[in-house]
Symmetry: C2
Amino acid sequence: MPNIKNVNQGHRSTCDDGKGVRSLQRALSLLWLVAHEGSDGLGLLALSRLAKLHKTTVYRLASVLVTEGFLIRDPVTDCYRLGLAVLDLSSSYLGNLTLRQEALPYLSDLMKEADETVHLGVRDGNSVIYIEKVRAPASVIAHTRVGQREGAHATAIGKVLLAFSDPADVEEVIAAGLDAMTKHTVTDPVQFRSVLEAVRRDGYAINIGENHEHINAVAAPIFDHTGKPIAGIVVSGLVQRLPLTRLRELGERMKTAAFAISRHMGYTRGDHT
Amino acid sequence: MPNIKNVNQGHRSTCDDGKGVRSLQRALSLLWLVAHEGSDGLGLLALSRLAKLHKTTVYRLASVLVTEGFLIRDPVTDCYRLGLAVLDLSSSYLGNLTLRQEALPYLSDLMKEADETVHLGVRDGNSVIYIEKVRAPASVIAHTRVGQREGAHATAIGKVLLAFSDPADVEEVIAAGLDAMTKHTVTDPVQFRSVLEAVRRDGYAINIGENHEHINAVAAPIFDHTGKPIAGIVVSGLVQRLPLTRLRELGERMKTAAFAISRHMGYTRGDHT
DNA sequence: CATGATTGTTTCATCTAGTGAAACACTATT
DNA sequence: AATAGTGTTTCACTAGATGAAACAATCATG
């Protein structure tokens, strides 16, 4: 059979899973590329090179994204940047999270008590993403923002969520690699598992410069009505302001706050000691 | 010429502009529908009804959006909800806004001085969208969030941005309708134009319960290097805490802060009086 | 318990509409 | 002036998105 016309296999582009609407997948990949490109934006050709798509295709997809507000085109440089639509969507997302509303007063209280910045975050695979933040007036630095991601294994909130999650999830995170963020990051799987064991025992997780050299933190888990850990609260600040004893004090305090929020979320079988 | 084969006009679906990648336009419209549906989410059929698309189409588009993280599917109700990807993107968006970084310290200072919540916002057509917020500890209510939209014509920040924008923009906003948000909203085009005139004279805009019955506010504009008003800062709070005299005091103070930020953005020809 | 209504998923033939090459336009750079 | 590097438009082709219909699964209802 010599007349093999279109063998046509094996040349899947950027994000072809074989299944799905290709143009949509491609367009979404453009969004990620632009998002991760920093504030300078990306020109048409640069974008098409990164996406490994023909420039015409990128041009049309991006044009739609522009008219829909997901991208904007810098009037002077012709570069693509993220548009306001993404803010709109995130606003809807955050506004519909009842967890966030319920937790907010507790976060404020904690912030006042600890005089440190408090975050509310959820886990998404190997990373943690912040959905609310109450900044302490005293906090000199603002190293985070709502919507930001950080590695789950190197953060207090990530550890506390993993500790109470399905062990399979933990193994996935370990398999993905316990990257060293600082010299204090726990990178050994065996040690990491025993850390989580300790977290389960304590009911809160502590982070001593494992993610950022000069930042300590302590986190407690929030559970939903099924008993799944759906989110966590975390207090973080400069090491000199948060020594171990302070972290342990706060940890106990945060357990009760987290438990109170859990109750709002329908958590019942709570023995909060 | 009787053989008109494909007349093919007039049956444009949801967002067909004729030009562009239809599947992408459709998928994006799904995002908006889900976003505006509140926390309950939308089932497949409900979504296809709203989008006026066949359920199979919605199914496939939504499936891609789910695998890409833009939507999630509630495990119990099978309803579509916004996914974490939108937070990721908004985080990138906010992180790349240098305006936001430059303005933040000024916002904090203003918050401390006024002891009221301060917002940074930009205009997008007929609405204003907040890109940063510094909450005052004293503020009892939190009626806004980053990413939220409000009508430009009924907010101090919207008015201040319009006042220094192209008059054509103003007319567009007027044409879109000056909806009454409260009984204090200026709804008469003639009166509205004279209000903007006053704003240009003062250099700041005041809002007396025009958007929310019990909220007053005062805003000042930020300009970029081309002299275009790109953003505004606004202080808002309960009417009893922000009487007119106070608003005017703050207005002057905010003009200088806004001017300082404008300078960071490359604004030069500044006669900040 | 059977029946029917409602929602979600898969399959498949049809032909729309997304694709990419090439031509075009425009601006820097040499 | 020539060349390289951009962004935009056109157009023929057919890959691949589409929607009808069948299938599955769940939930009411008589």
